[in-house]
Symmetry: C2
Subunit: 177 residues, 2 copies
DNA sequence: AATAAAATCAAACAAAGTGTTCGGTAACGA
DNA sequence: TCGTTACCGAACACTTTGTTTGATTTTATT
């Protein structure tokens, strides 16, 4: 990939992130992004057709590393749920881009939706092992929703508790078998 | 209040609701609302300064009846949590305006935020009676988040289960003491 | 029924944002 | 070095916004 492309792409992402911490997504104009990123108007549109696609690209960028299936450097094995949750929290904490700034911003719910989509596929792999009477889709919704809320709370509290303890917390509070 | 005012206000609300079921909040223009409601441009702005304030007014209108502290016609006493949750679900089901259309729309998260605000104050009254080690604010987040997700799921499934059974479901799945 | 008050309307407006196109300039990779 | 590619800035037609104007109903009251 051309260095120039990467440079503009990063500049736009950074500008977008800066703006998102200051104001709501739907109040941010392309004009402002252009000014903040200091790129030409036509350049922006050659990279991203719309503001929505920019958001989309940025979310993929942000959440890719968090949910990638890599050998976990912190937790030995992540085949059990609790281990995988810790793993995920580790990645969130170590994420290079400031996730808390964005997830806790006025447009946080927007990113939460992307976040939840990833969580769905993650929890889906464990859903079979749970013994409960509630329907599967409800249970999934419940797990994803409460875990996402927990992450938000965790970030808001500056991640005082360790990923392991936090994951254990979550398991503890939810009757999943 | 003047009949004309009420008529315009209702027309705008209805137009807004119709549009919200078709497209996202931030893609809806004031122009479209005006056209759909068939009111003059200046009339709209004499009622609502901005689109955000219109949303705000409509949410208050929608959630007022759901969370008002009335003598419950369905559940005898609503001093216990489960009874209050049933009560809330009853109101949601009987709500005149189609809540599910809006809460499940593309802009559902927007309304969920308002919804959650009400839930917070509701759960706060019960929080003292819970015996658990997790911090109070985390527990609140957890309850509000998972209950809100449950309502969304419930609406999506066309409210097949009864309010009472659904509330019991929720209590059942959450370790709150 | 008459009247004063108030809400509505259409039209017009400047200002700001959108998305596209253009040719010129500069940076890249080979 | 040289062809390719990405960037820039300027201009464009177009839409949306929020405000103002003055004429036209509709309302509540007497």
């Amino acid at each position: 990939m051309d260095r120039r492309q990467l440079k503009t792409r990063k500049a736009i992402f950074k500008a977008f992130r800066n703006l998102l911490e200051k104001k709501r997504y739907d109040r941010i104009t392309v004009q402002e992004i252009i000014d903040e990123a200091d790129v030409g108007r036509s350049t922006f549109y050659s990279h991203f057709e719309t503001k929505d696609l920019l958001l989309n690209a940025m979310c993929e960028d942000m959440f890719y590393h968090i949910f990638e299936n890599d050998p976990c450097p912190y937790v030995g094995k992540d085949h059990d749920l609790e281990g995988e949750l810790s793993h995920t929290l580790w990645h969130i904490r170590d994420s290079k881009t400031d996730l808390s700034g964005i997830l806790l911003s006025d447009s946080g719910e927007l990113f939460m939706q992307y976040f939840k989509e990833h969580l769905y596929t993650m929890f889906e792999h464990h859903i079979e092992s749970f013994k409960t009477d509630v329907p599967k889709d409800f249970l999934l919704n419940h797990l994803v929703g409460s875990f996402a809320e927990m992450v938000k709370w965790w970030l808001k509290e500056n991640m005082k508790t360790s990923p392991e303890a936090t994951a254990k917390y979550f398991i503890e509070l939810t009757k999943i078998n």
